[in-house]
Symmetry: D2
Subunit: 168 residues, 4 copies
């Protein structure tokens, strides 16, 4: 929660470069979410830290806070065991663990490498939680275990910020 | 977290009517904390919901968030088993559980009844968490188990509010 | 733990009808384990009750109790989401969750149905824990959550039984 | 669980040298429990390791295993904060935490020192779990955190031992 920079340095959240969506009737664009706080949860379905901690937390943020002011999007950023974590397996995982938040499947520019969205966000691994403010700028980038109280405070502060005007 | 009222209805936080303090060199006055968010944790040292959940959470808020903008104060509001929860016993409890946040001992107007601060805040039992905004008004009053994520969001929102001017 | 029957009624543990093994240099035969207590853990890699509770417990039994007197064997008994839980996916799961106990892959007599060992043991779902005594007889068959203390007592009692003589 | 000695070395469990009992109509004598496995839980009501872990475990052993073959006895062995942990406070603690197993209050030969039963058993602190076999001999002496699975196995093994004959 200490990684805040001055506003002028803040990086705009890159577009989601993904190939498939679950739990949403239409693809979701980060740009179209301007005005809302966006919580991105990057995960792999067989990553223990995701299954045991990161994904349940993201789902709870979705259950308790998602609405006109906040959106949670999970991105399946597979960078290892590619054959074990196909979209078919992911669908079964989402069903079994009752994951209802929107989930995107990251795109692989070439077989076996790191996927496109993971690279665009410079993520180091999974789980990673990225929080984007109402103006579309990355405000928090958290790798690994997250303190729930501190995350809540960070989200509360961002929710209290005014939505940007059209020109921002 | 749903108990917000319009600002005009908000009740000013009553003074702490207490007889003894631990973990602070001088008594703390709610009035003097104007400008800061105040988290009040009402507890009894032998209440299981306090020992197992409420008090550790209050202590963690103290550890992670206490500073120029937020203060945590615990109040020992004994309303049962009075002889078992004297200040001598409380001191041992604080020592054993490594509780370092400021702790006040609620005053009993008459033996055996509900204590003064608990009554002034209309608390129903322990643990109770009361959150006071920078302007000294009660914004949240939570009895029993508290969702940590939602509490964090509520605190983040209050921390984002401007401090009152002298006339407020 | 209440399902004990008189010895004359006890059922002999069926053979493991499986197609592949992980974490063991050679296939394991229930019959050849006569003289040892055998703990069978039937699971599916995407079953939440397995991932969060049953499989970690089986692995801990393996870590703490496996030896000359007790063997833990996990059996991957896939009866749903077959395409999502192939041996390739299972290998990644075992690697990621650091599962080191022997794991067998149950055999499917026909595509899409219940697998052979699961059927032979009349298992209702996953996780299922079956405990076989030193004489090769099923003594406990537990579906779902298991109380660790009671399971320990049951294992301690079986470990205290003498190994069968050759003629038993 | 590794502290087993050969039977000839095993120490007979000393008598409980206590001054008061809760949760039992009559005092309990270790000697009169010959033939049963006895689990002794030494604790202090304000010791965090007791409140959070040791006492709930002892109570669960009582709930699940107490009967003709096994008895659980808690002993309040106060060796610090004496004024904070009087029998009056203990009574409130037992009530609040719904502790229903028999509880004895250890005797203090002199004010402020270690209590008699704690000394007789050479306990180092709280929580301590002592397991006595059917023949009245100490078989396990565990200080601090206890692995529930391993404790269960140890109890299962002792429960499988025959009761001593009258002359043992």
């Amino acid at each position: 929660m200490n990684a805040e920079r001055s506003s002028s340095e803040l990086r705009r959240a890159p577009a989601l470069d993904v190939v498939e969506w679950f739990n949403t009737p239409v693809p979701i664009s980060i740009d179209e979410l301007r005005g809302r706080v966006v919580v991105l949860h990057a995960f792999q379905m067989l990553c223990p830290g995701c299954v045991l901690s990161g994904t349940p937390l993201a789902q709870r943020i979705h259950d308790r806070l998602a609405g006109p002011d906040l959106v949670v999007i999970a991105v399946h950023t597979v960078f290892e065991h590619h054959e074990a974590m196909t979209p078919v397996s992911l669908a079964a995982h989402l069903h079994e663990f009752r994951i209802t938040m929107p989930v995107a499947v990251d795109r692989h520019p070439e077989p076996g490498g790191a996927p496109a969205t993971m690279t665009a966000y410079a993520m180091r691994g999974t789980p990673t939680l990225v929080v984007v403010d109402r103006a579309g700028r990355i405000r928090h980038h958290l790798f690994g275990a997250v303190d729930e109280l501190e995350l809540g405070v960070a989200l509360g502060r961002l929710l209290a910020e005014p939505a940007p005007t059209d020109q921002s």
